[in-house]
């Protein structure tokens, strides 16, 4: 293997811990990733040396904090290849980013308008649009998937029409691991002049997100899925779109002139960032992105592919295991069911063996319903996982199968 996973693991203090006397095997990375020392250090250093509120620079600490905070914005802009730093809006995470866009959209929609999402959405990228449509009296259209978890592209394209105002879709499905051809789908949506939002919650940590290349209008993600802390996230939006987008949260920082009875809004990015921001979170996120960028992306992708291939091969050979989601282009996730065993039971028995996975509806109840299953067990991999851990997963599953039979 072209990169040293053992030394990478050493940078993650939590990976050294044990669960019930067994080494932790953390395979719940689609839920949240662990944090390298570089990120932990950046947060501690901020609080230790220059904690102050930003953009109110009457003193040295505030200057230093503001500089680090705005440098963090630059780091994100570079990471996703934004055309301008003002296009980076801090949020608390993917969900807030989608809500910001959806809230604005609800004010712009007419009752003849349509919003298109896919059957593979997690709740964050479904309920928000559903509620926005409800408020505006607009219609929500659901683009179907094939049974293997791939988007039905023909049906997706057929749903698009001049009435389509916005298309929202995941870059990568959290439950199935399907990678959507977002560039091509965006081009289709642009033919009818719709806005496009890509939910990058699961896409961001797998490298090479280039928002200009995709051609979308919005790309949202959470820091904690890419080795940064929870509570910080990003909404990237095209400047032309964001600068007129209806403001959502109002208050300090986002205004220009205020009287008792009226207010005018500031310019990007501030107009969409009300209140004191998550300064430490932004700095932590920048540290994570900088740390990640220094790794060899190609080697990481190869490593991740090796893990998933091994997981797939072992899954196929495993009697009574049914894989959920077998898209051609797939990353990071092995969702499955064991015959005769409830996913929750599988989760319990794996947990006792130190193996952390997700079980349940994957925050995607309509998708589970569409697939005709109550939920799945889901192992999700990150760059610091090893082939030994994949083997440990299947050893543990053999035990689960025996015990639950």
């Amino acid at each position: 293997m072209s990169f040293d996973v053992a030394s990478l693991r050493k940078q993650f203090p939590i990976l050294q811990r044990e669960v019930d006397g067994k080494p932790l095997v953390y395979l719940d990375n689609a839920a949240t990733t662990q944090k390298p020392q570089a990120v932990l250090d950046a947060i501690i250093d901020y609080y230790t040396t220059c904690n102050a509120n930003v953009h109110r620079g009457a003193h040295q600490l505030s200057d230093e904090a503001t500089r680090r905070y705005e440098k963090a914005r630059d780091a994100v802009a570079r990471f996703v290849n934004a055309a301008a730093r003002e296009e980076i809006i801090w949020t608390s995470g993917t969900t807030e980013g989608i809500n910001l866009v959806a809230n604005g959209l609800a004010q712009l929609l007419k009752d003849t308008d349509e919003v298109v999402v896919t059957e593979m959405e997690h709740h964050a990228n479904l309920v928000t649009w559903q509620q926005a449509c409800k408020r505006a009296g607009a219609s929500l259209k659901i683009a179907p998937i094939h049974d293997n978890g791939e988007l039905d592209i023909e049906a997706f394209t057929a749903l698009l029409s001049p009435a389509t105002r916005l298309v929202a879709m995941p870059h990568v499905s959290n439950a199935l691991g399907t990678v959507n051809p977002v560039k091509m789908l965006t081009a289709e949506a642009k033919k009818v002049d719709a806005w496009v939002l890509i939910d990058g919650a699961q896409g961001i940590a797998h490298g090479n997100v280039d928002v200009q290349d995709i051609g979308c209008d919005f790309y949202v993600f959470s820091g904690h899925k890419i080795f940064a802390p929870t509570g910080i996230g990003v909404l990237w939006g095209k400047r032309d779109v964001l600068q007129d987008w209806p403001v959502w949260l109002t208050g300090g920082e986002m205004i220009q002139d205020v009287t008792y009875q009226s207010a005018t809004w500031g310019v990007l990015p501030n107009r969409l960032e009300a209140g004191t921001p998550n300064i430490a979170g932004a700095i932590g996120l920048a540290a994570a992105l900088n740390w990640f960028s220094e790794l060899d992306t190609r080697a990481l992708q190869t490593h991740e592919k090796t893990l998933l291939t091994s997981a797939h091969e072992q899954a196929q050979a495993f009697e009574g295991l049914r894989m959920i989601g077998t898209a051609q282009d797939k990353i990071g996730v092995l969702s499955f069911l064991l015959e005769g065993a409830h996913p929750a039971d599988v989760g319990f028995i794996l947990d006792r063996q130190g193996i952390a996975i997700r079980t349940g509806d994957n925050c995607a109840q309509p998708l589970m319903k569409r697939l005709g299953i109550p939920g799945t067990a889901r192992a999700s991999f990150s760059i610091y996982n090893t082939l030994d851990e994949v083997d440990a997963l299947f050893d543990a599953l053999r035990k689960a199968r025996t015990m639950l039979a």
């Binding site: 996913p343 929750a344 039971d345 319990f348 079980t359 349940g360 925050c363 015990m403 639950l404």
Partner: protein, 137 residues
């Protein structure tokens, strides 16, 4: 097998020295309780967790609280059997006096009754306690 009482369960589980035997015992306990028929599993009896679902029918019979439960997951069913052993056919006063958290701690199963687990167990316990409280007030 007949469902043992809560003290017997504590003693039985203390006897095992590895987790596999303990979980096997809990799974077997779950199989020992009768569960509910499909017709009885109505939505109003459903306590939905994001990991597994449980159904509960509770009633008072001759001053004692009786309940029946079922789950779609066998370990959760076993954990429900532990609750059943402690709570079923007891007076409301007995139920309110019983230290359920201490019981699960003694069984070394606190993790399963913690509110952070989406298995519905905590909600079942809360429902039975609420019924007990209503019937003494």
């Amino acid at each position: 097998m007949e469902l043992p009482d809560s003290q017997e369960i504590v003693d039985d589980l203390a006897f095992f020295d590895d987790w596999e035997q303990r979980y096997q015992y809990i799974i077997d306990l779950g199989k020992a309780i009768s569960g509910l028929s499909e017709e009885q599993k109505t939505d109003d009896r459903l306590v939905k967790g994001c990991q597994s679902s449980v159904w509960l029918i509770e009633r008072i019979e001759n001053g004692r609280i009786r309940f029946e439960v079922d789950s779609d997951a066998v370990i959760v069913q076993g954990l429900l059997a532990l609750v059943l052993a402690a709570y079923d056919d007891k007076t409301p006063q007995e139920i309110l006096a019983f230290d359920i958290d201490g019981y699960f701690a003694e069984l070394d199963l606190e993790r399963h009754i913690s509110p952070t687990r989406g298995n519905g167990l905590r909600a079942i316990v809360a429902k039975i306690q609420a019924l007990a409280k209503r019937s003494v007030s």
